[in-house]
C-alpha cells in the first residue's frame, strides 16, 4: 500500500457462495473519502440497489475502519457498521467503541463486507488470512455475552474480538443491535436484524499484524501530545469521572431532559439519575475503549432492591434518559437492568425506551388498553412493567411483537391517532434532546441521514453558550444569535460546519467525545495529523477536508433520495413544532423548522423545493457516477 495507515484490503464474506474474497482497496477512494463512513457510503451506494428490503439477502452489512484505527491516536478504536437500515429502510450506520475495528486492521483488512445470506446459522471467523464461515447452530439463541464467551473459549484466545447478535437480532427486532465486547453497542438503526436476516450470529476477529503509518516518528509524537491534551482538558477529565451521566444535571438545568415521552424537558426525579448520585452508590470500575485515555465507561453493581445482583456496564446518558426520565422512572437500578437486557438480547436502548414511551402515552390516552397489551397496565414510572415489556419486545412475545417493529410502524398498525405519540423522524426514535430548547438539534434531527440523530450534527457550542468557540468558528458577526438556543437564526451555519467536521471524525474513525463539549480536537487537528498518518498531503488542507465531508453528506443524501426521501421527510414530530414546551427555562418554545431547512439546503447546495442535491452540487463533488446506480 502506497499510503500509510491503511491495510489496502477489503474482505468479503460471501454467504451465498459460502466463501471469502479479498479485494484491493481502490486507491481513489482514499483521496475522495478518507475511510470509515466514507468508504462504506461509497461501497453501499454502488452495491446495494435502491428500494430493496433491508432484511433480504440483497442487503449488505459493512464493517469499516479508518486510516488511524489501531494506532496511538486518542479514542481511535471505533468502528462503524453500515447497511441499509432495518428500522427505517434508508441509510443506516452505527458506530461502536470497544476493540473490534483495530483487530480487523491487525488482521489485515480495512473493511469487511458481509453479503448474501446463509442457509444455516454461521459465524464469520477471521484470524489474519485464515477466514472461515463456522457453523453456529449451537450458538443460535444465545445472548450476546454468552456468544462472546463461547467463541473466545472455542478459539482458546482471550484476544479474539467478537461482535455478536442476541435473540433480538435473530428475531429481527427492528432496532436490534450488534454487541461488541458484551456491552458496547452498534445500537441504532437495527444492524442486529440485518445480521440476523443473514443467519450470521457473530463475527470473530483476531489479528497479529501491524498498522503502519506514513511518518511513524512524527505521528507518534503528535499522538502522545494529543493524549496529553486529553489529560489536561477539564471537560475530558470530568467525563472520565462521571461518563455522560454528567449530562443529566446539565440537561435538567436547561430544561431539556426528555421526560414523559418528550412531553416536557423537566423531570422532578432527575437527581437520582445524576452522576454524583450514581457513582458513589453503584460504580465499581472505570473502563475505556481501545486507545482511549478518557475512559468514560462505568461498570456498575446493584447491591439491593428488586434488581440486586445486576452487574453491568453503562448505561450512558441516553440509556438513563430512555429508561429514566422519558418513562418517568427515577430509579438508576431500573436503567441498569434495562441496559443489561438490551445488551444481552442485543437492542438499541434509545429506540427501545422511546418505543415503550410511545406505548405508555398511547395507553394513557386510551388508544390502547389492557386487551392490546396482554393485560399489562402501562403507567409512567412503573419500572417492573417496563422491564417486563422490554423482555417481551426482545423476544417478540405478545404485545412486544408489535413494539419490536419500532414506534413508527407500531403506531401505523395501531392507527386511531397513535401516530401522534410516536416521537420519531424517518422512522428512527428521537434521542435525548429537544429542538424546543436547543434549536440546532431540531434541525439536526430533521436532516440527519439516518433519522432523528444526535451524533451526526449535534452542536454543543450554542447549547452551552461557548461564545469564544462560536466566534472563532463561525465569526463574531453571528453572535449573539448563533449561541442563543431559542432562535432559528444562523443555526444552519452551525449545523452545516459541525456536521462536516463530524463527517471527518467518522472517516478516521475517532470517538464523538474527542470533538464535543467544547472540543478537545477539531478539524484543524485532524488536518495536522492525517498527512502524517497517511502521506496524503491534500489531507492537510481544512478546505479539502470540508469538501470530502460535504461529498459524504451528499452521497448519503443521494442514497436516501433513491429510497424516496425528500424535503417532505425532513420533519419533526408535532410535539416539537406545535406543542410549546410546558415548563422550565424554555417554557413556551416551539421549533420553527422551515426557515432553518431553507438555510441548510442553501449551504448544502440542495434544491429548496425537493431538498435534494442539485446537478451542480452533484458535479461539484464528483458524484456523477451515482446516476448509473439508480
Amino acid at each position: 500500500m502506497k499510503y500509510g495507515g491503511y491495510t489496502g484490503r477489503i474482505l468479503r464474506a460471501r454467504l451465498d457462495e459460502g466463501d471469502f474474497k479479498t479485494e484491493k482497496l481502490p486507491e481513489d477512494w482514499i483521496r475522495d473519502y478518507i475511510g470509515g463512513d466514507g468508504f462504506a457510503a461509497r461501497l453501499l451506494y454502488e452495491e446495494v440497489p435502491g428500494r430493496i428490503d433491508a432484511l433480504s439477502p440483497d442487503n449488505k452489512l459493512l464493517i469499516a475502519t479508518g486510516p488511524i484505527t489501531g494506532t496511538l491516536w486518542p479514542m481511535s478504536g471505533r468502528t462503524v457498521f453500515v447497511s441499509k437500515a432495518a428500522l427505517t429502510g434508508i441509510w443506516g450506520e452505527s458506530h461502536v467503541g470497544g476493540f473490534l475495528g483495530p483487530e480487523l486492521k491487525y488482521a489485515g483488512y480495512d473493511m469487511l463486507v458481509v453479503e448474501g445470506a446463509s442457509e444455516k446459522p454461521v459465524y464469520v471467523s477471521i484470524e489474519d488470512d485464515d477466514v472461515q464461515l463456522v457453523d453456529a447452530s449451537d450458538l443460535w439463541g444465545m445472548k450476546t455475552n454468552e456468544v462472546s464467551a463461547a467463541i473466545t473459549k472455542r478459539h482458546n484466545d482471550p484476544d479474539v474480538q467478537v461482535a455478536a447478535i442476541g435473540p433480538s437480532g435473530e428475531k429481527k427486532v427492528r432496532f436490534s443491535a450488534v454487541m461488541v465486547n458484551s456491552a458496547r453497542a452498534a445500537g441504532r438503526t437495527g444492524m442486529g436484524a440485518v445480521l440476523g436476516s443473514k443467519n450470521v450470529k457473530a463475527i470473530a476477529i483476531r489479528g497479529h499484524g501491524a498498522v503502519e503509518v506514513y511518518d511513524h516518528e512524527g505521528f507518534t509524537k503528535l499522538a502522545k501530545d494529543a493524549h496529553k491534551r486529553v489529560g489536561e482538558n477539564p471537560q475530558a477529565q470530568e467525563m472520565g469521572k462521571w461518563g455522560t451521566w454528567i449530562l443529566t444535571a446539565v440537561k435538567q438545568e436547561i430544561g431539556e431532559l426528555p421526560t414523559y415521552n418528550h412531553r416536557t424537558g423537566v423531570f422532578s426525579g432527575w437527581e437520582k439519575l445524576a452522576g454524583d448520585y450514581i457513582r458513589p452508590r453503584y460504580t465499581i470500575s472505570d473502563r475505556a475503549c481501545f486507545g482511549c485515555s478518557l475512559g468514560c465507561k462505568k461498570v456498575n453493581y446493584v447491591r439491593e432492591g428488586p434488581f440486586a445482583g445486576t452487574l453491568e456496564e453503562g448505561p450512558e446518558y441516553e440509556g438513563l434518559m430512555a429508561f429514566g426520565s422519558l418513562l418517568g422512572i427515577d430509579d438508576y437500578p431500573t436503567a441498569l437492568k434495562a441496559n443489561q437486557i438490551c445488551n444481552r438480547y442485543g437492542m438499541d436502548i434509545i429506540s427501545a425506551g422511546a418505543t415503550i414511551g410511545f406505548a405508555m402515552e398511547a395507553f394513557e390516552n386510551g388508544i390502547i388498553d389492557e386487551k392490546d397489551t396482554d393485560g399489562l397496565r402501562l403507567d409512567w414510572g412503573d419500572s417492573e412493567t417496563t422491564i417486563r415489556l422490554l423482555e417481551m419486545i426482545a423476544e417478540r412475545e405478545g404485545f412486544g411483537d408489535l413494539l419490536a417493529e419500532g414506534s413508527a410502524k407500531a403506531a401505523q398498525r395501531i392507527g386511531k391517532g397513535a401516530e401522534k405519540y410516536a416521537i420519531h423522524v424517518k422512522g428512527m426514535e428521537v434521542s435525548g434532546q429537544d429542538g424546543r430548547t436547543h434549536r440546532s438539534i431540531g434541525l439536526g434531527h430533521a436532516t440527519g441521514a439516518r433519522g432523528a440523530d444526535h451524533l451526526r450534527s449535534l452542536v454543543v457550542v450554542d447549547q452551552l453558550g461557548y461564545e469564544d468557540v462560536a466566534s472563532e468558528r463561525w465569526g463574531k458577526d453571528k453572535l449573539p444569535e448563533i449561541v442563543d438556543p431559542y432562535t432559528e437564526k444562523y443555526k444552519a451555519t452551525a449545523v452545516f460546519e459541525t456536521e462536516n467536521t463530524y463527517c471527518i471524525r467518522d472517516t478516521l474513525i475517532v470517538c464523538w467525545y474527542s470533538v464535543s463539549w467544547p472540543p478537545i480536537f477539531w478539524i484543524h487537528d485532524f488536518a495536522k495529523m492525517l498527512p502524517l498518518a497517511t502521506g496524503v498531503k491534500e489531507f492537510g488542507s481544512v478546505d479539502n477536508l470540508m469538501k470530502i465531508a460535504e461529498r459524504q453528506v451528499n452521497l448519503k443524501r443521494l442514497f436516501n433520495a433513491r429510497e424516496g426521501i425528500s424535503r417532505k421527510d425532513d420533519t419533526l414530530p408535532d410535539r416539537f413544532t406545535k406543542e410549546p414546551m410546558p415548563e422550565g427555562p424554555g417554557k413556551g418554545q416551539v421549533v420553527n423548522l422551515e426557515p432553518m431547512l431553507d438555510d441548510y439546503y442553501r449551504l448544502r447546495g440542495w434544491d429548496l423545493e425537493t431538498g435534494l442535491p442539485t446537478q451542480k452540487t452533484i458535479k461539484r463533488f464528483g458524484l456523477e457516477w451515482t446516476s448509473a446506480h439508480s
Binding site: P158, G209, K224, G291
Partner: protein, 178 residues
C-alpha cells in the same frame, strides 16, 4: 533523611501495577510497540492487558517484579540471564535456540516468540525509562523502586467482586433479600 535516600538508591526500579486503576485501554501496548517495533502491533507488545468483560475488570501483565526468575532458571542454554544490579532479565539472542521454554515459564505471560522474525521478545524496561508507564493515563502502571506494600494484590479486584456476588447469592438462597 540521609539514610532514606541512600536506601532508595540501592533498591532496583520495577514496573508496578495498580490493578484497580487500569481501564483496559491498551495505550501501553500501542506505545510499547511504537517504540520497539516502529509500528502499532499489540500482538508484539512486551506487556499485556487481560480483559474480563464479564466482570468489568482489566489487568495489566508486565515483566516483573519477580523474586526469582523462572525464565532464567528454565533456559537450557543460559541465553536468558539476569542483570545482578538491575535484576532485569534479558535474552542473549546469539545463544537463544528458540525453544520457547521461557515463554511457558513466565508467570506473567509476557515473553513471546515473534514468529515472523523468529526471535524471543521480552520487556527491557526501555533501558530504565519505560514507555508504558509514561503513557498510562490513569497511573495504573508506574515505574520506580518497588515497595511491596504498595503493590495491590493481583487478584484482589476480581476477588472482591466475586465475594460480593457470592454473598448476595447466599442471602437470596436463604430467603433473605429478594
Amino acid at each position: 533523611m540521609y539514610w532514606d535516600s541512600r536506601e532508595l538508591d540501592l533498591l532496583t526500579s520495577q514496573l508496578t501495577v495498580d490493578f484497580t486503576k487500569c481501564t483496559g485501554c491498551r495505550i501501553c501496548e500501542l506505545a510499547c510497540t511504537a517504540k520497539h517495533e516502529g509500528k502499532f502491533q499489540p500482538s508484539l507488545a512486551r506487556l499485556k492487558i487481560i480483559k474480563y468483560d464479564d466482570l468489568g475488570v482489566d489487568i495489566p501483565n508486565v515483566c516483573g517484579p519477580c523474586e526469582t526468575a523462572p525464565c532464567v532458571d528454565v533456559c537450557p542454554v543460559y541465553a536468558m540471564r539476569r542483570n545482578p544490579v538491575s535484576k532485569m532479565t534479558y535474552v542473549d539472542q546469539d545463544k537463544c535456540i528458540l525453544c520457547k521454554s521461557c515463554v511457558g515459564a513466565c508467570v506473567n505471560g509476557v515473553i513471546q516468540l515473534d514468529t515472523e522474525r523468529m526471535r524471543i521478545i521480552k520487556c527491557d524496561h526501555c533501558g530504565g525509562d519505560p514507555e508504558c508507564a509514561k503513557v498510562c493515563p490513569t497511573g495504573a502502571i508506574i515505574y520506580g523502586p518497588s515497595h511491596v506494600s504498595e503493590i495491590v494484590d493481583r487478584h484482589g479486584k476480581v476477588a472482591s467482586y466475586l465475594k460480593e456476588i457470592r454473598r448476595l447469592a447466599e442471602a437470596q438462597e436463604s430467603g433473605g433479600e429478594s
